[in-house]
Symmetry: C3
Subunit: 179 residues, 3 copies
């Protein structure tokens, strides 16, 4: 190759490398689970990653949506099945069950107590803090449709999108966690 041509090729390689290295600054998470302990783990990781300077996108789908519901969400404009699902599913971080040792709802209280004693932030604060630090929360449109969850049922600042958005984020990230 000529020197000039070589220079151009090298520049192209630089740009391609820049793009690959940019993945090191991003984290993608899929929050599928809605249990207190798994949601807690997800937001601890998300906040930890942001503290390390990463941009984090959390794609929230299926049961994970329970964690970002407003406790005040209602059933207006929903059909009978959607009303039933709304009624039966937990609403917001304060109402999530734990995946183990739930004991009819005592488990999460116990955990919150133990977590508080060790000065670990509560789940609600972790979510709020996350959003303040720029955590991008994207609710899965398809899951919302299937379960009859409206946009106004979810906490403020949430975006809405589908699997293509999630995969796009994942391919722009070094790490993607399915929780």
């Amino acid at each position: 190759m000529e020197n000039k041509e070589l220079s151009k090729t090298v520049q192209e390689l630089q740009e391609r490398l820049d793009k690959l290295e940019a993945k090191n600054s991003r984290l993608t998470m899929v929050l599928f689970s809605g249990e207190f302990d798994k949601v807690m783990a997800a937001f601890i990781i998300a906040n930890g990653a942001m503290a390390m300077g990463k941009e984090v996108t959390m794609f929230v789908t299926f049961w994970g949506l329970d964690a970002i519901k407003k406790p005040t969400m209602g059933t207006a404009g929903k059909n009978i099945l959607e009303k039933m699902v709304t009624f039966m599913r937990p609403k917001g971080p304060a109402n999530l069950p734990t995946s183990k040792m739930n004991f009819g709802g005592i488990g999460p209280k116990l955990f919150k107590y133990m977590v508080g004693k060790k000065n670990v932030e509560s789940l609600a604060s972790l979510i709020e803090m996350g959003q303040e630090f720029g955590l991008r929360i994207v609710a899965c449109q398809m899951s919302m449709d299937v379960m009859g969850i409206k946009k106004e049922d979810l906490i403020d600042g949430v975006e809405f999108g589908g699997v293509a958005l999630m995969l796009g984020e994942s391919y722009a990230s070094n790490t993607t966690l399915f929780i």
Copy 2:
């Protein structure tokens, strides 16, 4: 470096970059779970990725195998424990429980109804569609051995392999999801 030597080095770099960038066109999934909702999520992601032009390998292991069983699978040639496991585990997408709100099997029916009403494909169609579009499904040989599942117990078009194959795929992919 001499210009000639430099040209050669740059070409090598190009090839190495090509290889790293090739990961952007592949997705690896490990389907460990056998619940209707998780399997549904897995195949929605797999089909979504293929629609975006990705090559997808789904390595199916443990309970995930329930999702790719033929509903007609039998117990011939199995020992007593294998027969018991065959009898007790769900066979195929129509028989999977949900991870939450299963209500003794009503949950999946309810979900299927809600999914159908929103024009989301059924799980059986998602699997079929996936295979048509080139989804590579690999059943974990070791799990099959342990649980006494024969090759003919699984749907057609499935390959068989071990953890080395799965890891090989993962290292050729940008994203690997464990579901």
Copy 3:
């Protein structure tokens, strides 16, 4: 660019590529779950990866800690809640429940029998083997604090760290699995 400058740039590109390619030799796992079957899957993958020459770090958190407890762990120096949690959680690989078909503890025995019959290593051996082959097990300090688990409660050879260590490993790896 001058030939000399070009040489320098190419060398820099080589170093950046080396760094990206180094991810191909590392695997990061987050073991969040404590069920026999999921822990088994995690250690089969870890050992498989090491057999392929990968360096593996397993970050063990929440219920996953059950799998690396000494069966002899006690309650000395723990408060009443920590004692309760210590008492109620399984201690070590021989005492983990399965996520399905547990049948009050018969499930794991059944599995161990079936696993043994197919000459698959037992979970305890997989963990031991893993450590012998250089598996780096890091217990999550925050989870230990919250659940009142002391360093001496866990098997020997375990390191201790937080989410930053886990994410650091993940960004040095091509693949990160959350199990």
